[in-house]
Subunit: 262 residues, 2 copies
Amino acid sequence: MKPEHKDIMKARKRNIRLTVAYDGTNYNGFQRQNPPAVAVQNILEDRLQKVFGDTVELAASGRTDAGVHARGQVVNFFTDGSIPVDRVPRAVNSILPPDIVVLEAAEADREFSARHSAVSKIYKYRILQGDIPDPFERNYSWNIRKELDVESMRACLELIKGEHDFSAFRAAGGPPVSPVRNIYEAALEVQQGGRIVELTFHANGFLYHMVRNIVGTLGNVGLGWKSVGDFKRIMDSLDRSQAGATAPAQGLFLDKVFYSKI
Amino acid sequence: MKPEHKDIMKARKRNIRLTVAYDGTNYNGFQRQNPPAVAVQNILEDRLQKVFGDTVELAASGRTDAGVHARGQVVNFFTDGSIPVDRVPRAVNSILPPDIVVLEAAEADREFSARHSAVSKIYKYRILQGDIPDPFERNYSWNIRKELDVESMRACLELIKGEHDFSAFRAAGGPPVSPVRNIYEAALEVQQGGRIVELTFHANGFLYHMVRNIVGTLGNVGLGWKSVGDFKRIMDSLDRSQAGATAPAQGLFLDKVFYSKI
């Protein structure tokens, strides 16, 4: 019987874990695409193959959509390549385009999976408020052209903390998983002299487009188009059609992925 | 006798002053270029003409080179257009590409010249230190791959404060002006948990490439390749060939231009 592909991969000697940052502006998301589309994964696998000498198939903590950024995406792969881990970042970065950077490399336990071992993640979302845009923020924030009511937005963030059914903020087309997630932390920080509103979400997992759908509705609250009470009713309705539009991709950052000790 | 072109311009009713920010990454500098090269000025003049209805010829506080950015470039132009100034930023920004933004517009005295009325300018220069690059800083900093000796760099900044002949930091090919400039402030700030070294230079004027040549030599001091004493000897030599290489354009920001009251 022919061995399964994943078993061939698992027969390799080493399991390498990488922490990766990328500017998603110029990519069709993280997940590998067929040419001519180019995803971060296509570029990373190609350069890692050059450094490790065998075919590289990455598993990632999760996908990010086109235009979404990462400061701490985590991936792993099995290899028989012999380069010591402490030389990996420099070797790979020297041949990566400058909008993708390997921050750290480590030997992982054989059982470690960047996807399945993840226990929680932090996403950040940046809003630029006010009617004057900022050329340096154009790819890294959602420009809402008015001053936002940040106190009402903070009140909404209190409502989403804890374990809830987030069906109202779940995009159609995601995988058929439970809509219940536990949000450990949801915070709003005003930065850069009041121009940037940075939202932080730490949860045990996120549904497809969940952060961007929450932020879209939060934006409506910040603009005064919806109240905190409306936000609560939308959330409790479990009905995606009640919520606001999906906030644009370029404001979203996958900030950090946490793993259990295995 | 045919009136001179500049007199035709000056015969127009209004003198408009704009403060402009731009990400210089995708432009061949500020100053108008012949196609297919595209400078910030080409784009700005084109869009201002659409909003004001007559031919616009900008005067700027100064040029910036390809890849150099601005947070507070100042320009002025004469026009017979009738749009009120408070509507100008929104009208122009709605048709500008997102990497060029008009921050402010004001009616100026007829004698105001963005170039000739300027009394001082602030430039900032950002260095990313350490051997791991940052995808979000690739167009906005010079990545020096080692930890820098910032105290020695600060000692050099003390030496350049005040009125000096900056011939050692003057590029060939600049206009034949006096090499004496007065640096009011030269400061170094460590930011973002130690990764960014931001340099600030406030002077009554800058020679061509002066900031980038100073920073190139400062980088050598930060790396330990040259001492503070070497820096002083280079400065006193008045000899460009003694100084370090010109620091890359993408770390430089024209931050602010100051004007006298006229």
